[in-house]
Structure formats: C-alpha cells, structure tokens
Amino acid sequence: MANKAYQRIYTQLEAITKATVSLKAKGVSNDELAIVHGRLAQVVRTKGDMITLQVFSGTEGIPTNAEITFLGAPPTLHVSDQLSGRFFDAYGNPIDGGPRVEGEERQIGGPSVNPYKRRQPSQLIPTGIAGIDLNNTLVSGQKIPFFADPDQPYNQVMADVALRADVDKIILGGMGLSNDDYLFFRHSFEAAGALDKIICFINTTENPPVERLLVPDMALTAAEYFAVDKNEKVLVLLTDMTLYADALSIVSNRMDQIPSKDSMPGSLYSDLAKIYEKAVQLPTGGSITIIAVTTLNDGDITHAIPDNTGYITEGQLFLRADSDSGKVIIDPFRSLSRLKQLVQGKQTREDHSQVMNAGVRLYADAQNAKTKLENGFDLSDYDHRCLAYAKEYATRLLSIDVNIRIEEMLDTAWELFGKYFSKAETGIKQALTDKYWKE
C-alpha cells in the first residue's frame, strides 16, 4: 500500500493503549483504514478532531511519533468468480499461494438487504442429521448457530452439514481457528471434491485477535456478490462467533467504553445483528444461509454472547454429549428452528410434525423416568419402556453420526413408537397411525 502523492502523514499520537491509538486529524471517516507505523489499522471512533484507531496486530512497539497515513476508504474486497476455491486472510489477501483476485472493489460491512425485497424462506436444507432435519428443520435463508461447549465436535458437524447441503457456494469465515481446524476444513472440502465451491477467510490463533473483526464482513460481502449478482445459493459458515465477540470487547474496553454484561460492549446486540441479518432469501432465487458456531462456557446460555445471539437468530442447535447413549446429540429440549413449520409437512411427508412432536415428548417422559431412577424409586413398566426408547431414539435419531433421508427418519420413529408404546400412549392423530403405525 504505497503512499499517494501529497498524502498527509501524521506524526503525533495523543494516546496509545494495548489495542488502540488516538490522534488529532481532520477529514477522516468512520471505519476508514489507515497505516500506523507500518501496521494496518481502522478508525473506530471520531470525536471532533480526535480519532481513535484499532490497530489489528496490536500496538506493541509503536512510538508516540509514529507515522500515520489514512487510506481514504474502509476495508474492501475485490469480488468476481476468481474468488471460488481460494483461501484468504482477514484482509482478503491470498494465503494459498495464488494470485490476487481481480474484480469490482466493494466496501465490506454495508447494510443488509432491503426487507421489502426479501422473500419468506421456503426451501428445505436437508442435512441427514435427524436432530436437525426431524426436530429442527432448516431452510435456506435462515440464520442459526450451533451452541456447544468448546470440547464438542462442532466444526466437524458444520463441515458435514455444509457438504451435504445443495448449495452453489460455501463461504467459511474462520475466527481464531486452530491450525488443526483450518487443515481439517481444507482436507474435508478437498476430499469431497468441493474445493471449487469454497471460499475461505481465515484468522487463526497465530494471527492477531482484533483481525477477526473483519472476517464476517469479508465473508458476507463475498456471499452477497454471489447471491445477488449471480442468483446463487450461498451457505456462510462462521466459526467461532464467541471469539469474534471477545475481539469486540478487547477493542471496546481499550477505548474506555463502559462495559455492559459479561464485559461485552453495550453495542453487542447491534454488532451481532449487523452480521446475522445478512441472511436472506432473494426473490430471484439467490440466498444466503448463515450457520455459525457460538461456543459456550460450561453450557451457560445466559452469558451475553449466546443470550444476544439467541434473540437475533432463528433458533439454535445445541450440541452436547449424551452420557446415556454415549453419543453427541442435538439436544431436542434446547434446540429450535423457528422456521421449521415452513417446510414440515409441506416439503416433507404429512406425518412429520406429529412424529417430531410425539418423539420429543416421549423422550421427555424418559427424562422424568431417569429422575425417578436417580431418586432411588422403583420404575413402572412405562418408565422402563421410556428409558429403552430414549436410548434407541438418541442412538438412531439424535446422534450426529447418523446420515439418513428424512423419510427414513420418520419410518425409524414409527418403528420405535410401535416397539415401545401403544397407539394411545403416543397420542398421535388416528389418520396417521392408521397409515404409518408399525407393529
């Protein structure tokens, strides 16, 4: 980034903190990029003449007479078909050894799609995982996070979902990825022969954390190019949004903003919403579906990050290890897809909703039976059947390592109902039990 002719160079900083620097300058716009002592930085606050910049790689070693030049524009991405199959860092620079992408230069982080131009989502996204397809069916244009503790295999599940989805592009935004995770994604996509569908913006644990703040906007600018300009179905994967929020709080705290709950910035809701609201179903057929990961601290969903995320997104998929079956499952009691009713029974078989409902209710009865067992009481015959049902339900349906079509999920559920319960005990509409009940 060479300096232009007659470029103003500032040489006096007013303040330096661990992540930010401040100086007096005129004619500077919000979000504008700058170079501070050779390092890339971005304007995060302007108050009269006082400008505060977040320095992406940190401020260690920056002197008070450092040279600062403003680049005159916010971060941009060059968009074109050349993006396909490429790997980039958080600034859009190639990290796969290939050439720079040529194309129209677009500012990242713009507004989301005009609500009037949106269509209601209506296209099913089958994943093969019953915990999702049966109980929390996804549709294209949806925004939904995986909630999981850090020790759960969420990246693996996300990669599976991405490769099984019928989409034109998969855009991965990695924030704080370990090198192992990065290589895992790369190999999974290669092995599936899907590399030409993939675009990755990667910030690893070896990169500075504040850089992560650029990743979702980069990924979504690319997504919008393909969805809007090319009418393509785009799936955006963002992992891990908790680390993104952590970066937000680093910068906000260094700017001496008064921290809100859990030391997060008070603007956390808006910051997250700006990203998630880019999910859209366009009338011309293109779509952007956002599946994110929000890791939890010991399953605590009341922490500011998952709490705010849950208000914005159209549900959540809660991954946890189930000790009774020994499998990692999508927990039916803490997961939800708020758009599932748009496709269940309409793009899937007529019995879908009833079967989903009965299956989860009987699984809940099994949890009650488990409590009785733990309290040391004798179990009734119904309790024993519930517990046996729950184990099979978790193993054959809730587990993430199951990969079957939706119809097979429904037939499996009917098989379990017939094996462990009477028709009256399931309480399902008779027209459906007449048709689908298996003895």
């Binding site: 015959d381 009256a424 309480g427």
Partner: protein, 134 residues
C-alpha cells in the same frame, strides 16, 4: 360474554392444575407407592386439562384454530370428567386409564367439531367414563 360462570370454570381448571403440580412434587419425593391413590388421580386430572385443553398443535389444521364455542364445549367436557371420582387397583391402571381418555379427547381435537368422527370418539369417551367414574 361466553356464559355465566365461565370465569369460575377457568378458576376451577387452574386450581386442578395447581393441585396436580403439588401432587406431582409429592410423588417425586415419596415415590409412586408412597402416596395415596387420590394423588395420582389429581395429578392425572391436571394432565388431562393440560393435554386436552391447554395444548394446541399449531401444525394441525383443525386443532390450531379453536373458536370460542368449541373452547367452552371442551372445557365443560374436561371439567365434567374432573368432577367424577374414580377407583383404581394401582397407579399403573390409573395412568393407563387416563392415557386412554387423553388420547380419545386428543382425537376429538383433531376432528371437525361435531362431525361423525368427533361424535364417535365422544361416545367411546363416555363409555370409558361409565366403566369407572362416578
């Protein structure tokens, strides 16, 4: 207004649900065999109100929309059952009996109001009631 005494009926239903929850807590503490049969009966009556009146399936075209006349009809029906007293040999029989009743009323909820299917289920329900209830 729906009818005289509608509010009183609601209060009655609420109280049954409340007592059912209290009895459920006692059953959890003392075990199924550690409480009198009346506790199970009260608990299952509250389950009846919950499953048959309070719950509605949004994905079922008939159950999702319940006009006020049907609401009154169903509440009267459910409270009428709760006014009966029953005798059971053991709590498992109590549970199975109420599950059968709950299932019949759910099938009624899925059927068009006062259609043939609706009335058939209603008759079956009345037969079941006559077997045990007073």
């Amino acid at each position: 207004t729906v009818e005289q005494g509608w509010v009183a009926n609601i209060g009655k239903a609420k109280n049954i649900v409340r007592r059912g929850r209290e009895d459920a807590d006692q059953i959890n503490i003392l075990g199924d065999d550690g409480v009198p049969m009346s506790y199970h009966e009260t608990f299952w009556k509250s389950e009846l109100i919950d499953f048959c009146f309070l719950q509605q399936d949004a994905f079922d075209p008939i159950d999702s929309l319940c006009p006020i006349e049907r609401q009154k009809y169903m509440l009267d029906l459910v409270l009428n059952i709760c006014d009966h007293s029953f005798t059971f040999d053991d709590y498992e029989k109590c549970r199975d009996y109420f599950k059968d009743m709950i299932n019949l009323i759910r099938q009624m909820n899925y059927s068009e109001f006062e259609s043939e299917a609706f009335n058939t289920y209603h008759t079956q329900l009345n037969n079941l009631l006559e077997e045990n209830g007073k």
